[in-house]
Amino acid sequence: MINFEQVTKRYQDGYEALNELSFHVTQGEMAFLTGHSGAGKSTLLKLIMLMERSTRGKVTVSGRDLSDIKRRKVPYYRRNIGLVFQDHQLLFDRSVFDNVALPLIISGAQPREIGRRVRAALDKVGLLSKEKLLPLALSGGEQQRVGIARAVVNKPALLLADEPTGNLDPELSAEIMRLFEQFNQVGVTVMIASHDLSLIARMRHRILTLQQGRLISDATA
């Protein structure tokens, strides 16, 4: 599903975020990405999202070499990936429903589809009753679940999350992680960047550990 082959990313200021990084995540797998801040977790996710391009090496997602995807085609590529942010990045001037519907509207789904799929996604994260509320009326954990609903509403084959539990207490964090596990159980490949080591150690999934842009450990807890 995700394949990195000796990928190096050097930023314009000379900072080397990733150094000859190679790994492979198979379809249907769930993997954690961990390491200190600055280890290269975010850069790795940005390369997959095509927010950045690798300096050297080859990144392949679903069999597609990302260097072949031209700038104009990037939006269509991104529609295949669900992305969950640390600060959930909801749009606060519109309802929960409209936030979750955003990817569907962008990809031009049928209106009946939109209603059905948004409600299905909200149901999965347990927020079906709150579709008409504004995000500010929700708790932090609920806001993050709206962010997850938005990430999965397009039924992506790949779900990425960047510190999804960064601002949540341990109990809520565990809840969010269980949610990711549920999506993984129905076949979605999930990759989560997190430095909450104690939490992800309990989850018993593959853990990729980065340090200074290199992979220093790849093990299943």
């Binding site: 927010m51 990809s107 209106p111």
Partner: protein, 342 residues
């Protein structure tokens, strides 16, 4: 900005990443229906975005009104000048009718023959009136107006010919019939030269041509100003929604999708400014029409100020909307590409 409350009921189809749709498009008839609804929903999407953009402008009525006013004032100046010139042209066309033809007769013609000829010409259909000016009168006139009086005393004989001043009939006259009359007079025997006395009309036309150029120049300059005002306003709107733009780009929005609401915003700014400018021009005309009527009455004239015609109004609105679109396009082109997820 990209969504609205009604959105969830809206129809819109798109070909990307819809596995379930692909399945339903297997049959040819299904495909046709899908294409039809796709086109239909594309327009519905545009309508939706247009409405939403307008709603956003109206949600901040004061700041929107300020922008509209700035645009309106910038448009009112050239449009007002245009209306003024149009009226001046109309007025000068009426004066055109009063053009006179000077017919210079051959020197050897005596007064009796000349008066007979005047009578003959006066009988023509196209002629209103003929005035005979004898060589002596012409000389007196010349002495008085030229200041060469003393010098002229030394002339042995009067060098000036007799002149018939022919006024064309005003009700039917226009430049063409007057020109025809001129040719007919020229063709008469014993006529040295017939001259259409249009110098002052010619001058007026030149002044108006200058005015038209000025209106055009002013229009161009202020058009650029409108472009910049709208561009800057749209740029600020883009800046204020930077976070939003990043999010929609990350969930797969194309440049066109991100651009669309801002382009409609520009159109609304332009169109609103155009409507206000139209209102202002009409107010100014209304305000001036009283004094113009008094002025015309003092000259025994028959003339009323005319406003913007239907076509002129339409083109004002259309061009202001286009200016808005163009201004927004410039801002969007410059600033939207700089906002990328980081």
């Amino acid at each position: 900005m990209w969504l609205s409350k009604e959105r969830r009921e809206q129809q819109k189809a798109h070909p990307h990443n819809q596995p379930e749709r692909r399945k339903s498009e297997k049959g040819a008839s299904h495909g046709a229906v899908a294409r039809h609804s796709r086109v239909k929903s594309y327009f519905e999407h545009h309508t939706q975005v247009a409405k939403e953009s307008l709603r956003r402008l109206l949600a901040a009525p004061l700041s929107s009104l300020m922008t509209w006013l700035v645009i309106a004032i910038a448009l009112t100046l050239p449009v007002g000048l245009f209306v003024f010139l149009q009226n001046a042209q109309q007025l000068s066309q009426e004066w055109d009718d009063a053009a006179q033809i000077s017919v210079y007769l051959e020197q050897q013609l005596n007064e009796k023959q000349a008066r007979k000829m005047a009578l003959h010409v006066e009988g023509w259909d196209a002629v209103q009136q003929v005035r005979y000016i004898s060589p002596e009168e012409a000389l007196e006139d010349f002495k008085r107006s030229s200041g060469f009086g003393d010098a002229l005393q030394y002339l042995k004989e009067n060098p000036l010919p007799a002149v018939l001043v022919v006024s064309p009939r005003t009700d039917s006259a226009n430049l063409q019939t007057t020109q025809k009359l001129l040719e007919e007079l020229q063709a008469l025997p014993d006529v040295e030269q017939a001259q259409l006395d249009l110098q002052w009309v010619d001058r007026l036309f030149r002044i108006m041509a200058l005015g038209q150029r000025m209106a055009l120049m002013l229009g161009l300059l202020l058009g650029v100003a409108v472009l910049l005002v709208i561009g800057n306003t749209v740029r600020l709107a883009i800046e204020s929604r930077r976070a939003e733009i990043v999010v929609v780009k990350l969930v797969g929005a194309t440049d066109a999708f991100v651009r669309r609401p801002f382009l409609y915003m520009g159109v609304w700014y332009g169109l609103g400014g155009g409507l206000l400018a139209w209102l202002m021009v009409n107010l100014v005309i209304f305000w001036l029409s009283g004094s113009v009527a008094e002025l015309v009455a003092a000259y025994d004239g028959d003339f009323g100020l005319s406003g913007l015609g239907f076509l002129a109004t339409l083109s004002l609105w259309l061009s202001s909307a286009l200016l808005g679109l163009l201004g927004a396009w410039l801002a969007v082109g410059r600033h939207l590409s700089k906002i990328e997820p980081k």
